[in-house]
Structures are given as structure tokens and as C-alpha cells.
Amino acid sequence: MRTQLASQPVELLTDRALMWERTLFVSDPHFGKDATFRAAAIPVPSATTTSDIDRLGALVERARCERLVILGYFFHARTSRYESTLRALERLFERGPGASVERLLVRGNHDRHAGDPPNAWGFSVVEDGASLGPFMLRHAPPEQADADGSYTLCGHIHPAIVLRGGGTERLRAPALWARPDHAVLPAFGSFCGMAKISPTPGDRAFAFGPDGVADVTRVCVPRSRSVELAGE
């Protein structure tokens, strides 16, 4: 669905991604998280990662983007650099759709521990606070608004919203949390937990589901008093 962030038109894609002009943003792919679990004798199917890699490739192709920005948490941990995972990523970024676009990784604190993608994959790795057009790029949400008034795109917290119906009905979905000075993207990875967010007046929220993206601002974000008065 189309909406605006920092007065810029953006498109939210069902695959938990954001498109601005010719740039595709995803956050927290946690590649190889399955391998880390398996190494600790917890069986997690390897397809969680391979399907994410395929999904990213298809997305880059479909979106016809010129640039791919990953907002941190590329590998899940050191033990995530499992051979077949590396080979699949190599295919994507050295020969596949990922090879023909500009690649940017915002290095989060975890990435320092887990390690950057190999040079051959062509990523420019930047630190928190790099800017791109009207946006500032970070891994984690800024603690306070940037002085220059730029708008931050970030990830890190894996935002989710919860809608409740009668009885035990409860729908939990990954979300994009758009705040006045920054927006938090949902986690791209399939084997990732989520954290329920508590938006405050002035925020917006968008839920990502299997068949679309929905603006859930009106039900998930409390209205401030002034807005209510204005409505009356």
C-alpha cells in the first residue's frame, strides 16, 4: 500500500519491505538464525533462511529497485555463517538479482559481533547515522530526535500490533511503526519473534499480512484529545 513518510511517497510491500523511489528497504533479516539454533541442538528447519533469501531475490527483481538497503542484523550470530546459507547468499548477491543493484548495509551492534557480509557480495557497510536522500539510516530507533530534523528509518525492535475481537480472538501481525521523527520497519526474517508496540498519539501503524498491508492507525494508536475535539 502507498503512504507517506516525512512527506515522501513510499510503498509498503507485503513481504515486510519498504520502497522509496528506486530504493528498497528491509530490516533485520537474521540470515542463518536457524543454523545457530541447530548448532545448539534445537531443530529449526533450514528452509527458514533459504526461503527468506529466495524471497529477497524475488522482491528485488519484482520491485525493479536500483538500490537495496538493509537496516542491520544481517547475520544472526557468528554460528549463522553456515555453508549452504553462505552459498545461497553468494548466489543472490554475486550472480542473482542482488548483484545488479547498489547494496548498503547499516551496521547494527549485533553485526559487529556476527560479522559483515564478505566483500565479494558488494555491500557498502555504513554506521548508524548515514543519510540517504531525506532519510537518516540507523539500526536501532534514535533515543531522541535528530537536531537537523531528518527522518530516521530503522529496525531492531521487530514491531508487532495486536488486534482483538470478541472472546479469545486475537490477531498479531508484524508492523511498521511510523513515529513523528522515525519509522521502525518490521523484521524481514521468517524465524524472528516480535514485540508488541504501544503507539502514542501522532504515531501511525501498518500491519503486514499474507495478503496485504493494512493501515491500522485508527485502531492501534490512541487519539490525542485535540484530535478528538477537532473531530467533534
Binding site: S46, G166, V216
Partner: protein
């Protein structure tokens, strides 16, 4: 060190002298048990609590010890090696049991030692026990399983002659029961001549209980002995009748309104146990009684499973010495030694089952010549009918069955790792052993190899789990643990079959533990919030890892924590009795004081609708602001209704995408839909048909959250989730994932995973009770169907309406449609 053989003695006079010295005469059933034991048989002794069951099974092994000459002499410094394992479901019972078992040992001068090993045992004792076990080990299912995971204790356990499982009925139909079955099978392999005895309360399926205990018998082994204990004494069941029965019997509505009458009942008795069905209710009543009767302050206590062990021990000590007037308690006091000062029992709310009411009543009246007396306190008006019904069913001894579980694969997976740690195993031999348990007697080869694959390769999905290994295959084909880290996490996980994620409640600053509380409750509190726990008004200070720090709170307003699993469903025995009582009323029989009291309410119902006959299904329909309601009253108990509600909702929504809310209680089902539910009789009959039941229910389970929620336990038992223990750090952060996430990735990426299958099976068998549901549908088929349009809610429909917060939701809409509807609904509610 070998002991010098003492002259073997004829045990009979010694044992008789012991009985005499204690002022007990041996009852025939005790003699019968000893004889059966001496003849080499295993068996089950069933009798109400405390009536000499312990002694009955214990005299056999004692007599055996005497005749084997295991007496204390000058030159045998070390006690005999391990001979007997006593398994108890409750750690709390271990110390009393150890004391009771020691008495004859000391009296008769046996060279036997008795020690406990439970989660509470100190690590130094545990370490010493690993080197040398005591002669008699009193332990829990978890701890005996842990012992099976150490090669050095496994070797010692080969000397076991007797295993006794106490309170077997408590374990029987739970995963802990299955865990016990597997441990028993292991012990029988280690020590082939071992005899297994169980102690149980009376059950509807004693033979099956005995079969599960002794396992599939080898050819030539005699059948297990089923020994009936001394007959219990008279049970007197009375009800505190409210002076004014409310017009509408909400669940929990009457609650504390009977406080004055309860106090009146408490006055004359020396000691009363006030049983509630939930820990929250116990806290509520404890608090209310203290406020209402400040002069009793020092003599009122509280006892439930979340309260710190030391405080519970203190309460039990004072109960035994008779210095307490009232103890507000939960099932935590259902079991254990008898407290002779207890003169009466109060049961707040429906006991939901005949066995439970009898068990609780039996906790009173141990003075000579006394009867067991229980006063029932209704928590809502309709429970009056349940009490009258419970009395009738108790008098007729219509006691419930407890059905042992069938092959839960999560428990088996855990067991495989346990056995691998305890010295490794050969798969063929272990399969044969596992198949000797009642639970896994028909385990298929395919299920077995899946479980093996799961621990060795992650699963049988080809190549899905590279690099994974929990067990390693040695050159000789035996399977052993693949690393020390796995041994450690596995042992930590063994105790987790029961535990939910519990947080420790501690006094801030000065330390001292109050007990444990569920994380989900603490999650809703903020620092400064007050709540009642362990009989104290507390203020939350902060949460640190798995510990909640609290200080004394001031004021009166406070919340009471809700613990999970508080609500048990009406048993089919009691449900049937309720139906009979209603029919008696319909025919004008109001001899029960409870029915007389509720008569105005039932009359009102009759004026608005009909009181169904035993062979009549009543359906009420109406329309309110919320939508269109249909109420059905099969009187089959909550579990069956849950299945029925899901089934009906699924069948109604199957044809067109729509959304239905199904609400259930023990009496009926409510369906709520945005469009009319004004079906005619043939249509209802089609919806209620038992045809395609399993298939439809499976569809329904797949499309709902039911299986996903069930996966919580399974993921934990199967070792997917390493729980944080109270006071310990949580599992390493990069290895954290929720059970829901596991469910989703298995469903999406390894749909053949049998643990998913187990989750569905557990929903069908245990949650929706599919076999009971089928029976119910077959009964409904033969019933007359009466459809009544009602103007306002009737006394029977209102409680269902009030229950809405726990309703099940069935929807066949797309994700977007569901989001749209939920958004619209929420906006309306807000607006």
C-alpha cells in the same frame, strides 16, 4: 562392602509386634497386600487417604528385608544399597513419607537408610547420592528421571527390588504420568525382578490404572493385584443456602456474598479446611476472612501451590497440632497426611467432579467416631443444582475415570535423551522396552524412527536440519549425548513438564521468598501496583530477571493474581447427575434443599423457556445489539461443549466466509453471529451430525489458534525451549524463540513434523475430548429438539452470555477481511 549375613528371621512375629507397638491392628487388606507382595506380584491398592495404605504396601518390603537378614549389626557400618524407590507426585509429601517409612525401619532395627531426593534436595546431598544411593529413596517422577540420566546411578538402580508410586491417580492422566511409566519401564529393565506397587484413590478405571502402572506384562507374569482398602467412612454433604438467590446466576457472582454464612459455619468447628478451586479464590477468601474477623487473624492461614515451601510447611505443622482455625487452600491440600484436628471441610464453588468432592470431604473427620463433613458454598446460583447432584452421585459412588495418555511424542523424545545420557542405548532394545509401557504399547515403527531422527538429525525432512545433533551414534550403533552442553540443558529441562514460567516473589531489601507467581500476571503490573499474594498485601517494587521484588502494601484496593489452569470442567458423571436433578425438578421433586432454594430461578426459566427433559435438546435463539445468539444445552461439561462449539461454528462458517464466536460453560454452548442463526430442526440436526466429525474437527483445529497454543507445552517438553528458572538467568539471548514461532516455522517449513501432529491430537483428545464429543453427538441424534425464541436472556443463557471473554473464535475470512472487521469492531467499541 559386603555385609556379614545375619541369620534370616521369620518376619511374621516381628511385624506383628511392630503393629502392636503402634496400637494398630493389621486390616485384612494390609495382610492381602503383604501376601501378594511376598508372592512376587505387583499391584495397586486403592482406598481413601490415610487409611493405612502406606503401611499396607510398606510391610511387604520390610518383611522381605527381615527375612533376607538385612538387620543392623555391629559390623555393618554401611546401610544396604538401594532396595526401594518411592515415587510421590508432590515434593511436599516427600518428607512426611520419608518419616513414615523410617518408623518401622528403626523400630525393627533394619540396616536400611531412607533419604529424599527432590528438587529441594541440596546439591551436596545429591552429589553424595550419585556415589551411593540410600536403601530407600523417596523421590518425584522428575528426580527419578534425572537419576536415570547419570550412568553411575543407573548402575546402582540395578539393585532395586520394589518401586512404589504414591497417589498414582494424580499422575495417571498427565504427561508426568507418562514420564513415570517410562521410568518404571527403565527400572524394570535394569532390575528384572522388581515389583511395582501403586497407591491410588478410588477411580472409575482402576484396572486400566493398574495396567499403566505395571506396563505390558511379560509372558508368565501374574496379573497385577487390585486390592481394595478399608471402606471409607460416611460422607456428609451439605450446602450453605444463600438467603436470596440472585436472579441471574453469573459465574462467580455470588462469591463473597456468603461470607457471613461461611463465618457462622466456621465458628463452632475447631479446625476447618476451606477449599477453593483456584489459587486466586483462596487468596480472596483468606483476605476477606481476615478483614471480617480480625480477632482470628493469627489463626487463619493460606496454603496453595505457589506459596513458598517453608510457609506451607509451617501451615501444615500448625494444622497437625490443631492451632489453626481456618486454612484457605487449593488442591495443594487434597493429598498428603491427614490432619486429625480438621473437623470439617468447606468447598467453595463446584467441585466439578465426584471424586474430588469425596477426596476433599475425606480430609475431615479423623477423630474417632466422626464422619467426614463437607459444606458446599455456591459461587453462583446454578451450582446449587451441582451440589445436589454431587451428593446423589457420591452416595451412588459414581466415580470418574482418569484416562492415561496415549503416546505423547514430546515425552518420548525427552526420554530418549535421558536414556542416552544415562549410558546410551541400542535402538532395538530400547524400542522393545518403550513398548512395554501402557502409553506407547502401540507405538508404530514409523513414529519410533521419527523420534530417533528428531534427536539425532532434527527430523526426517530430508536435509532440513544440517549440522544439528542432540544424540550421536557411536561406532557400535549405540546412541549417546553429543556434548556436555546438551547434557546440562537436558537435565535442566527434565523438570519442566509441569512448570510454567514462574517468577520468584521476594521481599525487597531484606530478602526472603514468598513463593512463585506466573510471569503473565506480573507482566500486567507496574512498580507501585498492589496485589494480594500468600496472604499479604504487597506492593511491587521491581522485576529483575525472574524475580519480583515486593514490599508490604498499604490500603485496601489490590488485585488478586490469576493463575492459569484454575478451571476444571464438569466431569461426565457429575454432568449426568445434574441432568437427572433438573429432570427431578421438572417433575416436581424438590426434596433437596438446594433445589428448593433455586426453585424460583428454575420457575423463571420455565416461564421464559423450557426445562429440558433428559431426552430433549433445548435450543434458545434471540437477537441483541451484539448480534444473533443461539444457545444449546447438551449438559455435557465444558470440554465437550468447547468441541461442540468449535464444530458448529466451523460447520456454519464453512459454506460462506463469516465469523462466529462460540462461548461455552458446563451446561451449554452459545453461538453469536452477525447474521441470523434461525435454523430449523433439520438444519440443526445436520450441524450436529456425528458424520465426518474427526475430519471437520481437524479442519477446525488447523484453522484456529488451538493447536498453536497447545504447542507451548510440547515445545518445552521436547527441549525446543530452554526455560529460564526462577533466580537464574534466562537462556542465552540469541537462542530465544517462542513456542508460537516454532509452531509457525514447523507448519510452514516442516509440515510433516510429528510434534505438530501431537499438538493437534492433544487438542482433539484432551481439549475437545473427541471421544466424549462423539458420544454426546450420538446421544443428541436420538433426542427431541426443542427450539424456543426468547425475548430476554433466561437464567440458563445469561451465564453463557457473561462468559464471553473466554469465547472461541472461528472465522473463515481472509487476513485482510479479518483486519478490516476487527478494526471496525474496535472503532465502534471505542467510539
Amino acid at each position: 562392602m559386603p555385609t556379614s549375613p545375619a541369620p534370616s528371621a521369620d518376619p511374621a512375629p516381628l511385624v506383628a509386634r511392630f503393629f502392636e507397638s503402634r496400637g494398630w491392628s493389621s486390616f485384612p487388606f494390609q495382610q492381602e497386600t503383604r501376601d501378594a507382595y511376598a508372592a512376587g506380584r505387583s499391584g495397586l491398592v486403592h482406598a481413601p487417604t490415610g487409611l493405612g495404605k502406606t503401611l499396607a504396601v510398606w510391610m511387604g518390603p520390610i518383611a522381605e528385608a527381615i527375612s533376607s537378614g538385612e538387620l543392623k549389626t555391629e559390623d555393618n557400618a554401611k546401610p544396604e544399597p538401594i532396595r526401594a524407590v518411592w515415587i510421590t507426585p508432590l515434593r511436599a509429601l516427600a518428607s512426611d513419607t520419608a518419616r513414615a517409612l523410617s518408623e518401622p525401619i528403626e523400630e525393627l532395627g533394619l540396616n536400611w537408610s531412607v533419604q529424599m531426593r527432590t528438587g529441594d534436595t541440596s546439591s551436596s546431598i545429591k552429589a553424595a547420592q550419585r556415589k551411593r544411593l540410600p536403601t530407600v529413596l523417596v523421590t518425584t517422577p522428575e528426580s527419578i528421571t534425572l537419576l536415570l540420566s547419570y550412568p553411575d546411578t543407573v548402575k546402582q538402580l540395578k539393585g532395586v527390588r520394589t518401586i512404589i508410586v504414591d497417589e498414582w491417580h494424580e499422575l495417571l492422566s498427565s504427561k508426568r504420568g507418562t514420564q513415570t511409566e517410562l521410568a518404571l519401564a527403565r527400572l524394570r529393565t535394569l532390575s528384572p525382578g522388581v515389583r511395582t506397587w501403586g497407591l491410588s484413590a478410588t477411580l472409575g478405571n482402576l484396572e486400566e490404572a493398574a495396567d499403566a502402572l505395571v506396563g505390558v506384562r511379560r509372558a508368565g507374569t501374574p496379573e497385577p493385584a487390585l486390592i481394595t482398602g478399608r471402606h471409607e467412612k460416611e460422607i456428609r454433604i451439605r450446602t450453605i443456602i444463600p438467603k436470596q438467590v440472585e436472579r441471574f446466576p453469573w459465574a462467580g457472582h455470588l462469591g463473597l456474598t456468603l461470607l457471613d454464612e461461611v463465618i457462622e459455619t466456621l465458628e463452632p468447628a475447631r479446625t476447618t479446611l476451606l477449599f477453593t478451586n483456584t489459587r486466586s479464590q483462596a487468596e480472596l477468601w483468606h483476605n476477606a476472612l481476615r478483614i471480617a474477623k480480625p480477632e482470628w487473624e493469627a489463626d487463619i492461614a493460606i496454603h496453595h501451590g505457589s506459596i513458598d515451601r517453608a510457609s506451607r510447611d509451617e501451615v501444615e505443622r500448625r494444622l497437625a497440632e490443631g492451632s489453626l482455625r481456618v486454612v484457605c487452600c487449593t488442591s495443594s491440600l487434597d493429598l498428603g497426611v491427614d490432619f486429625s484436628p480438621v473437623e470439617q471441610v468447606l468447598q467453595v464453588g463446584s467441585p466439578k467432579g465426584v471424586a474430588r468432592l469425596m477426596q476433599r470431604a475425606g480430609r475431615s473427620g479423623h477423630q474417632p467416631g466422626a464422619v467426614s463433613s463437607v459444606w458446599c458454598v455456591p459461587a453462583h446460583a446454578f451450582e446449587l443444582v451441582e451440589f445436589a447432584a454431587a451428593r446423589e452421585a457420591t452416595d451412588a459412588r459414581e466415580i470418574e475415570s482418569r484416562i492415561p495418555l496415549r503416546k505423547p511424542l514430546d515425552v518420548l523424545v525427552q526420554h530418549l535423551v535421558t536414556v542416552a545420557l544415562g549410558g546410551g542405548f541400542d535402538e532395538r532394545t530400547l524400542l522393545d522396552e518403550v513398548r512395554t509401557t501402557h502409553a506407547y504399547r502401540d507405538l508404530s515403527d514409523q513414529e519410533w524412527s521419527w523420534c530417533l531422527d528428531f534427536v539425532e538429525k532434527g527430523g526426517n525432512a530430508l536435509g532440513a536440519y544440517p549440522q544439528y545433533t542432540r544424540l550421536r551414534r557411536a561406532d557400535d550403533g549405540r546412541l549417546t549425548a553429543s556434548s556436555k552442553a546438551i547434557e546440562r540443558t537436558h537435565r535442566m529441562g527434565i523438570g519442566t513438564i509441569t512448570s510454567d514460567s514462574a517468577m520468584l516473589v521476594k521481599w525487597s531489601g531484606r530478602g526472603g521468598t514468598l513463593g512463585t507467581i506466573e510471569e503473565s500476571f506480573i507482566g500486567k503490573l507496574r512498580p507501585g501496583d498492589r496485589f494480594v499474594f500468600a496472604g499479604h498485601l504487597l506492593e511491587m517494587v521491581r522485576v529483575r530477571q525472574m524475580t519480583v521484588e515486593v514490599k508490604k502494601g498499604r490500603g485496601k484496593k489490590a488485585t488478586t493474581p490469576r493463575w492459569q489452569g484454575g478451571r476444571s470442567p464438569l466431569s461426565s458423571q457429575l454432568a449426568l447427575a445434574v441432568r437427572r436433578k433438573l429432570d427431578a425438578f421438572r417433575q416436581g421433586d424438590v426434596t433437596d434443599p438446594e433445589l428448593e432454594a433455586i426453585a424460583p430461578l428454575l420457575e423463571q426459566h420455565r416461564a421464559q423457556s423450557v426445562i429440558p427433559e433428559p431426552n430433549e435438546l433445548l435450543i434458545e435463539t434471540t437477537k441483541t445489539r451484539d448480534g444473533h445468539h443461539a444457545f444449546l444445552y447438551p449438559f455435557e461439561g465444558r470440554l465437550v461443549h468447547e468441541g461442540l462449539g468449535s464444530l458448529l461454528a466451523y460447520r456454519i462458517t464453512r459454506d460462506e466466509p463469516r465469523s462466529i464466536v462460540a462461548t461455552v460453560n458446563d451446561y451449554g454452548v452459545e453461538l453469536l453471529a452477525p447474521d441470523p442463526l434461525d435454523f430449523d430442526e433439520p438444519h440443526w440436526r445436520a450441524l450436529l451430525s456425528p458424520n465426518n466429525l474427526l475430519q471437520d474437527l481437524l479442519e477446525c483445529v488447523n484453522s484456529s489458534e488451538l493447536a498453536r497454543r497447545r504447542f507451548r507445552d510440547i515445545a518445552r517438553v521436547a527441549g525446543l525451549i530452554n526455560p529460564g528458572f526462577p533466580g537464574e538467568n534466562r537462556a542465552v539471548r540469541h537462542l530465544q524463540a517462542s513456542s508460537e514461532l516454532f509452531f509457525d516455522v514447523f507448519r510452514d517449513f516442516d509440515p510433516e513434523n510429528l510434534l505438530l501432529d501431537q499438538a493437534r491430537r492433544e487438542v482433539l483428545d484432551q481439549q475437545l475430548e473427541v471421544s466424549r464429543l462423539r458420544g454426546a453427538l450420538e446421544r443428541l441424534e436420538l433426542m427431541r429438539c426443542t427450539i424456543v425464541g426468547i425475548e430476554r436472556f433466561t437464567p440458563m443463557s445469561f451465564p453463557l452470555y457473561a462468559e464471553r471473554l473466554r469465547a472461541q473464535h472461528v472465522s473463515t475470512e481472509s487476513w485482510m477481511d479479518q483486519v478490516r472487521r476487527l478494526s471496525a469492531g474496535l472503532e465502534e467499541a471505542a467510539g
